[in-house]
């Protein structure tokens, strides 16, 4: 079986995987990083979004072996110890979640947007969320959370 090495949340990791092992399976089942969720498993819902070399990607539609040598960041890697990341804090402040299943993917997707656009408009946030599905909230508070989180990051409260 192939061996794959990558950096996950700043830590060098390696593991034996099958060629067909998906990145999300490697993260959840071998590394036990279960914050990244599998929702639809068909690259529609975005619950599995992580960052690969700094850009958001759906980890259900990547092979683990494609990430050889890559820097991968999951939801577990964004807080600073017990201090939530400003984007996470914004989701809490704005009640940006109900059941929470989609939240890890929403936050990882939002962080990619905030890195490109420090003050996204409501329209820009809604267009960006094309690949993230939430079945609870109607998106309204998620959009508010992301706008607030991006502003907080730009204001230098972390990030």
């Amino acid at each position: 079986m192939p061996t794959v090495k990558m950096n996950v949340n700043g830590e060098a990791v390696s593991g034996e995987v099958e060629a067909r092992t998906l990145l999300v399976q490697f993260l959840r089942e071998q590394l036990r990083l279960t914050g990244t969720h599998v929702g639809c498993d068909t690259s529609q819902c975005g619950a599995c979004v992580v960052h690969v070399n700094g850009v958001s990607a759906k980890s259900c539609t990547m092979l683990a072996v494609q990430c050889e040598g890559a820097d991968v960041t999951t939801i577990e890697g964004v807080a600073d110890g017990d201090t939530l990341h400003p984007m996470q804090e914004a989701f809490r402040d704005n009640h940006g979640l109900q059941c929470g299943f989609c939240t890890p993917g929403m936050i990882m997707s939002a962080l990619d947007l905030a890195g490109r656009n420090s003050a996204p408009s409501e329209t820009e946030v809604r267009e960006w969320l094309e690949g993230n599905i939430c079945r609870c909230t109607g998106y309204h508070n998620i959009v508010k959370s992301i706008m607030a989180g991006a502003r907080a990051m730009a204001a230098g409260q972390g990030g």
């Binding site: 690259s43 990607a57 539609t61 990547m62 092979l63 494609q66 094309e130 690949g131």
Partner: protein, 264 residues
């Protein structure tokens, strides 16, 4: 997903050798269609040869009215290239509305056109703009490249290396997207070029095609009103739960008129 042997490639020649050596090997670009296909067990290749490590296939060059996009350039890079936006704004806009941001971060132009999904956006971009597909063996005009549903002029193991777009005088792409997948139910690219007007339609039929009657009408009068009353023929158009053939035929006219209007 059935298992397979995963192979990396250091160069186009290396990838070509590895795909030829495999019993039933396939090439992988961004994997945005291939991986879902494998997950559904619609394909069972012996080997997957990953083009992701070939840096020479990535990048955008703009010079002398020509935009050249490397085959492994992701949609996000085309969408956000200021050089592409200046030379062919319709191409940047088209790339920026493919799928969703995460698909655009991984999906590539070479993968998209080699797959030739009948509802993909890039085939309309290439045919509408009169692009040229460069492979490791030859150059193929876009008009000759897309040959049928999921079919192209590529020979077994032939690898797309780049796509060359001549900048038009004006062009616009208008898409009526499926609200779930963002694939085109109908997408029309209209371009006014030195060689004439081109109207390319994706999503409506089994393969991208040109609406030659609309091209002729626009040749004499490049304005939306030149297309008044014109629709596509519904014969042989796609029909599914999202849209009937007649509805798609109607949308071809609507999208074409909007695209002409957007050309300014």
């Amino acid at each position: 997903m059935h298992d397979f042997t995963y192979r990396t490639a250091s160069s186009v020649a290396d990838a070509a050798a590895k795909v030829a050596a495999g019993e039933d090997a396939v090439l992988m670009a961004g994997g945005m269609t291939l991986l879902p296909t494998l997950k559904q067990r619609l394909a069972q290749p012996s080997d997957v040869v990953d083009l992701g490590g070939i840096d020479s296939l990535r990048g955008i060059q703009v010079s002398g009215g020509t935009v050249t996009v490397g085959a492994m350039t992701v949609h996000d890079a085309v969408a956000n290239s200021s050089e592409v936006a200046a030379a062919i704004p319709a191409l940047a806009a088209l790339a920026g509305h493919i799928g969703d941001p995460q698909v655009r971060n991984r999906g590539t132009i070479g993968g998209s056109i080699s797959n030739n999904d009948p509802a993909a956006d890039y085939p309309a971009g290439l045919v509408g703009l009169g692009a040229t597909v460069c492979t490791d063996r030859r150059e193929i005009a876009a008009d000759d490249f897309f040959t049928g549903m999921f079919e192209t002029a590529l020979a077994d193991g032939e690898i797309v290396t780049s796509v060359r777009f001549p900048a038009p005088e004006a062009a616009a792409y208008m898409k009526f997207p499926n609200p779930a997948s963002r694939y085109a139910i109908v997408g029309v690219l209209v371009a006014r070029t030195a060689g004439g007007v081109r109207v390319a339609v994706t999503g409506a039929a089994s393969c991208v095609y040109r609406e030659t009657a609309m091209e002729a009408a626009l040749e004499g009068n490049f304005s939306p009103s030149a297309l008044d009353g014109m629709t596509a023929s519904a014969d042989d158009l796609n029909e599914d739960i999202h849209a009937s053939a007649e509805y798609r035929a109607h949308l071809v006219g609507v999208m074409a008129r909007r695209a002409v209007a957007a050309c300014g």
